[in-house]
């Protein structure tokens, strides 16, 4: 494919961005993943989903994880959340190894997973009550979080009365109300339409800038990853391994105009190369269907070109 624009390298950072990354890397480490591996037993034999994953997430950093389908990004985040256990390696949160799920790692799922029998407010109160807050205290605190995501008017609505974007905002408020050390987000906007998704990205940026929270965000949308992340962890499939950790050269704070800036496009080009390499090796070109011409030569529209 010919690139029509002359783009800089994604590795080029201007002084401000480089300076910021230097400071970022001096922050304490919130989450560190060491030699993490995961194997599944299947009837066809052992499948290695993740192999020797190593990375660190610093305090208040925004890290996106991206990779082709089947690279194990969901498995990775589920291990981090404690919903699955790793075969090898260690997950350290604030320097301590974690096992099993816990309120110190909040999770937002693609399918919202709000409790349908609870109102918006009670959903947000759920975690607070589990951690021992009284009803009144939990209720007050839940209100603040609901207000923060702009859903005060809906605090007594049930989830089925809300739109997808609103549901996901409740889910974020519910996870944040527990004041977790890290917020894990598993393709949270995958089910939303383009406009809602853009708005939700803006909301999330705003929340992240104003709250003491570290975010690990899984997505398959390249633009979303570049737009949101400080650094992008690129995984490759079979087995799932870290391919590259990209420092996004787009300056913070981000705005939608940057989607067409040279640094943005350069990063996107690099991601495209990493995630969609030419797949000619197995003899079939999986990007094309096995098509033959099925239009007669004397058809009134002889060619679409």
């Amino acid at each position: 494919m010919k690139h029509l624009l002359d783009l800089p390298s994604y590795l080029e950072q201007d002084d401000e961005v480089r300076d910021r990354f230097d400071r970022l890397k001096k922050r304490p480490v919130a989450l560190s993943v060491e030699h993490l591996g995961k194997e599944f037993e299947t009837p066809q034999g052992t499948v290695t989903a993740l192999q020797d994953i190593n990375f660190k997430v610093h305090k208040r950093e925004f890290v996106c994880v991206i990779g082709p389908s089947g690279c194990g990004k969901s498995t990775l985040i589920r291990i981090l959340a404690g919903l699955e256990s790793q075969t090898t390696g260690e997950v350290m949160l604030d320097g301590k190894a974690v096992h099993g799920p816990g309120p110190d790692r909040g999770m937002v799922f693609q399918g919202y997973t709000l409790f349908p029998w609870l109102t918006v407010k009670k959903n947000v109160m759920f975690g607070l009550e589990q951690s021992g807050h009284g009803k009144v205290a939990a209720s007050d605190e839940a209100r603040q979080w609901i207000d923060l995501v702009g859903l005060s008017k809906f605090e007594n609505s049930y989830p089925h009365q809300l739109s997808g974007g609103m549901k996901q905002r409740v889910a974020i408020a519910r996870a944040l109300a527990n004041q977790p050390r890290i917020l894990l987000m598993d393709e949270p906007y995958g089910a939303l339409d383009a406009q809602t998704r853009a708005r939700m990205q803006a909301y999330l940026m705003e929340i992240w800038q104003n709250i003491d929270i570290t975010i690990l965000f899984i997505t398959h949308d390249l633009d979303e990853a570049i737009y949101l992340a400080d650094r992008i962890l690129v995984l490759k499939a079979h087995p799932g391994e870290v391919q590259e950790i990209i420092e996004v050269p787009v300056p913070q704070p981000r705005s939608p105009e940057q989607l067409l800036s040279p640094e943005f496009l350069a990063t996107k080009k690099r991601l495209e190369e990493l995630i969609h390499p030419d797949q000619e090796e197995d003899g079939t070109n999986s990007d094309h269907l096995n098509m033959v011409r099925m239009v007669p030569v004397d058809h009134e529209v002889e060619s679409v070109f």
Binding site: G82, P101, P103, T113, F115, W117, F126, G127
Partner: protein
């Protein structure tokens, strides 16, 4: 459409009852004429009636008169309609016997206790088996076996152990309901979206909170629907249950009335069962909508 679905069979019934040339295999004698063994009000086969009429004509005797009629076991709708009222006002033939409303009350009590006791044990067991693999493997194989044993087969046993009054009847309903109930509820519980449990875990919920604050409320609407269906089955077992020991309740009323050939009362009693069943179900459905406002209704996405 609901009304039509009820009207159609009713219309069919009316046709057979009121249109004289449709079916009507019997003749109700109004004038016995010269036939010695005919009496007014007697039902005879049409063939017999025709033969006797022909015989009388040939012998130039008085010809018997009669109108086409249906057999006694198919009363006309208006007779059954009347029976709905008269069945309640007719005193029992013997002083020890019960009025219809007393019989009905007996039945309702037996159903209630049978179903209540079964649910008291069955619902918790079902939820446990649906939530924890351990309980599922502990309970379900045996229950799976036991549910194939037809509840009525335990009739004699229940009477031997529990006596002849209400207790064995309640036991039959219990046996008929309980084993299905555990399995149905365990299945319903298993259908709960596992990601809800995962979400709760990431919010800090542990064993007991997971069970009581996620599983139980999560399955409640479906569980309620299961219970409505199971209650319908309990009515089926009632009829069998009431035949064992001393026959009692609505079934006793039906068999007794059939013995007296009051088929209008029999039909009325059967329909009363249907009406009670349908009314309870509609009431429960309506209550369900009140209790579970978060359930999406119908086509609403």
């Amino acid at each position: 459409m609901t009304a039509v679905s009820f009207l159609l069979p009713l219309l069919l019934w009316c046709l057979f009852s009121y249109v004289p040339w449709l079916w009507h295999p019997k003749v109700e004698i109004s004038e016995p004429g010269s036939v010695s063994y005919f009496k007014a009000g007697m039902l005879v086969d049409r063939e017999l009636f025709n033969k006797e009429t022909l015989k009388a004509q040939e012998a130039s005797k008085v010809v018997p008169q009669g109108t086409p009629a249906n057999p006694i076991y198919l009363p006309a709708p208006h007779e059954v309609g009347e029976a709905f009222y008269t069945a309640f006002t007719t005193p029992p033939k013997r002083r020890t016997e019960k009025w219809l409303h007393e019989s009905l009350w007996d039945s309702v009590q037996v159903i209630f206790w049978g179903f209540f006791l079964s649910s008291l044990v069955g619902v918790p067991l079902g939820i446990l088996a649906g939530t924890y693999d351990f309980f599922s493997r502990l309970f379900e194989p045996f229950i799976e076996f036991f549910r194939y044993l037809p509840a009525p087969a335990f009739g004699a046993l229940a009477v031997a152990i529990l006596g002849i009054h209400h207790a064995p009847k309640i036991a039959i309903i219990f046996i008929g309901t309980f084993f299905q109930q555990v399995l149905v509820i365990a299945n319903t519980t298993r259908k709960l979206d596992p990601s809800l449990l995962e979400a709760a875990q990431t919010l800090g919920a542990k064993n007991k909170a997971l069970l009581f604050r996620v599983v139980v409320p999560g399955v409640l609407p479906d569980l309620y629907r299961d219970m409505r269906i199971l209650l319908g089955w309990a009515w089926t077992y009632l009829i069998v249950a009431e035949l064992i020991g001393t026959s009692s309740g609505i079934t006793w009323f039906i068999t007794q009335q059939a013995r007296y050939k009051n088929f209008d009362n029999v039909f009325a009693a059967i329909m009363i069962i249907g009406i009670i069943g349908l009314a309870t179900d509609l009431l429960l459905a309506w209550l369900g909508k009140r209790m579970f406002p978060w359930q999406r209704q119908g086509a609403k996405a």
